[in-house]
């Protein structure tokens, strides 16, 4: 039995629809048209304790809806969720004591009061024993480097500062599971890396199970190898990131700087991206060509000064993945 078991989860929403224009607006006063949106369809997966799983998909795929059902906020239409032996929605109050949640686009801290007051309030909400609270708080403050921010009202924090405080707030009660819904949205490079390192650290140290969603593929690459891809409410892929990379990363970019070329070598089945004096950039399809082949052809006719092979970046791979599933 896994730590988190999700079986045949379904959730539909009724969305009010109205054609534009005054006449339609008046019509809508008397008759409302609803569109049924299947936000999540028949999703199943298992997650073990201590795993980090990235939940990815394009906007509107059903990621947040799934996360909200896993957090006990939304009631699924059908299907089962069992996390640590509890049903999140039915045992909401008991269940939520064991989870921490960060929604990147929302704030859980009280806007008007200093961060440390928010923490104190969370302490009494979660009934954290005093010693444990002090210990955890000190640890989090150190790891996230937020010592200087504790006495500042939340409204005066920058986004990166606030996000670090949000993450600390979600971990004060030592949850077993941490849900991170786009935790790095809008953060600069330094804050992003800080948040990532922290997530890794907390996972290793406390064996916290982490489920995260993000549109930033570098986040996901840095944090985990297991991804679950969802599109139009359906689960499309559940497995390792490296497999996806292998499958879709069949193109590489090849950059050659040369000198003393008299006649360009003829190379078949290759896209030229850029062609300047003493410089060429190819897009190489690995199924049809090899890098060494091209380089060899060049080395015969000129002197090669420098070579760069660039792997396709993760975003391109994900775009291909979405394309394959027609998202």
């Amino acid at each position: 039995m896994s730590f988190i078991t999700v079986q045949n989860l379904n959730k539909t929403f009724k969305i009010l629809e109205r054609d534009p224009g005054l006449i339609n607006a008046i019509k809508a006063l008397f008759r409302k048209d609803y569109k049924i949106v299947k936000a999540v369809q028949d999703i199943s997966f298992n997650i073990d304790e201590g795993e980090i799983v990235a939940y990815i998909g394009p906007n509107g795929a059903g990621k947040s809806t799934t996360i909200k059902m896993l957090c006990g906020i939304l009631n699924p239409d059908s299907g089962n969720i069992l996390i640590n032996g509890l049903n999140p929605f039915e045992n909401r109050v008991k269940y939520v004591s064991s989870i921490g949640v960060v929604f990147g686009q929302k704030s859980q801290l009280w806007w008007d009061i200093p961060v440390s007051d928010s923490f104190e309030l969370l302490k009494s909400i979660y009934k954290i024993p005093k010693d444990e609270y002090i210990k955890t708080k000190e640890e989090l403050v150190k790891l996230l480097n937020i010592g200087d921010l504790l006495n500042t009202p939340v409204r005066q924090l920058s986004l990166g500062q606030r996000m670090r405080c949000e993450i600390a707030a979600s971990l004060l009660h030592n949850p077993k599971i941490l849900f991170l819904d786009e935790p790095t949205i809008g953060l600069d490079a330094v804050s992003k890396v800080a948040v990532r390192n922290f997530i890794k650290e907390i996972n290793k140290k406390k064996n916290v199970t982490i489920i995260l969603t993000s549109h930033d593929m570098s986040d996901i690459e840095a944090l985990t190898n297991r991804i679950i891809v969802i599109g139009n409410g359906k689960k499309l892929y559940d497995g390792s990131l490296s497999n996806i990379k292998k499958k879709f990363s069949d193109h590489k970019k090849l950059e050659i700087l040369y000198s003393g070329l008299k006649k360009k070598p003829k190379i078949n089945n290759v896209n030229v991206i850029e062609n300047k004096r003493n410089y060429v950039l190819y897009d190489v399809d690995m199924k049809k060509n090899t890098i060494s082949d091209i380089v060899e052809k060049y080395s015969k006719v000129c002197e090669i000064n420098d070579i760069n092979v660039l792997n396709e970046n993760m975003d391109d791979i994900i775009i291909k993945l979405y394309e394959e599933y027609n998202l």
Binding site: S64, C71, N75, R92, V96, Q105, W110, L121, Y126, D181
Partner: protein, 267 residues
């Protein structure tokens, strides 16, 4: 339980920092108080037909109404709660091991208390030192003063129970303006905030008997000045408690229903 008390304290302290709003409120209430008392004074000087309430009782009523307005007036809903519903931050509140009804209730009432703490004293003091006939009288007796405090507190609890229902309906419809503007008008008319209940037509007075609204402010203010007898006051306290139980139970029930169908906004 501790966490609810702590939250009450946090919200109370938080509310106490809005001094400028309080200052503006005090000025507005004083101006309103003057306008009202002057109208009633000139009204009474041209008639001797009103036997339901005396002029000094009425003027006292006006000043009390202005001093405790925030506590008893069906307006100033907690816009933060509605904002949370609209922008989806309510998701966080649902991820916490507390009862959301109690939580919001505490938030709403703490806000009212902190606002009234900042406002009532200057208005009361001014009312007391004004020359006759514009002044606010002292309580009729020590008993009526104690019962006044008690019924005023119960009245505020009653008011917030009604406001909670509006919030919960807002949770369902994502907008509370429609429903709240209807209830604001009905409530403020029938609770005596617009015109004291003893001055309303008899038929309307009869209607108010069967509704909770007059128990919010009309009751405590008339107890204070002795317009309502101690005996009747004690009966009314029982009525207040019954209404509070009914409205809170109703609120909790519809909250449960709404949470089953909740749909979180945005992202």
């Amino acid at each position: 339980m501790i966490c609810y008390l702590k939250y009450f304290k946090t919200e109370l302290i938080n509310g106490l920092q809005y001094r400028t709003a309080a200052f503006a409120g005090i000025i507005t209430q004083i101006v309103w108080g003057f306008i009202n008392t002057m109208i009633y004074v000139s009204f009474y000087s041209h008639t001797n037909n009103v036997d339901s309430i005396s002029l000094s009782q009425l003027v006292t009523y006006v000043w009390l109404n202005q001093a405790f307005l925030i506590l008893i007036y069906m307006k100033s809903f907690d816009s933060e709660i509605m904002d949370k519903i609209k922008n989806g931050t309510v998701a966080y509140e649902l991820c916490r091991p507390y009862n959301l009804y109690t939580w919001w209730y505490i938030k709403s009432i703490a806000k009212k208390y902190s606002a009234v703490i900042l406002r009532f004293l200057p208005i009361i003091i001014l009312g007391l030192v004004l020359p006759k006939p514009f002044n606010m009288g002292l309580p009729n007796s020590i008993y009526s003063f104690i019962l006044f405090i008690l019924t005023l507190l119960l009245g505020s609890i009653l008011l917030v129970s009604i406001i909670m229902i509006i919030h919960i309906i807002g949770f369902f419809t994502n907008e509370d303006k429609g429903i709240s503007s209807i209830i604001i008008i009905i409530s403020n008319f029938l609770s005596g905030s617009t015109l004291p209940v003893p001055l309303l037509p008899n038929i309307v007075q009869k209607i108010t008997e069967y509704l909770p609204f007059r128990l919010i402010s009309d009751l405590p203010f008339r107890i204070y000045s002795g317009n309502i007898s101690i005996n009747y006051a004690l009966q009314s306290i029982v009525l207040q408690i019954i209404w509070i139980i009914i409205l809170i139970t109703f609120g909790i029930l519809i909250m449960r229903k709404v949470l089953n169908k909740v749909c979180i906004q945005g992202g």
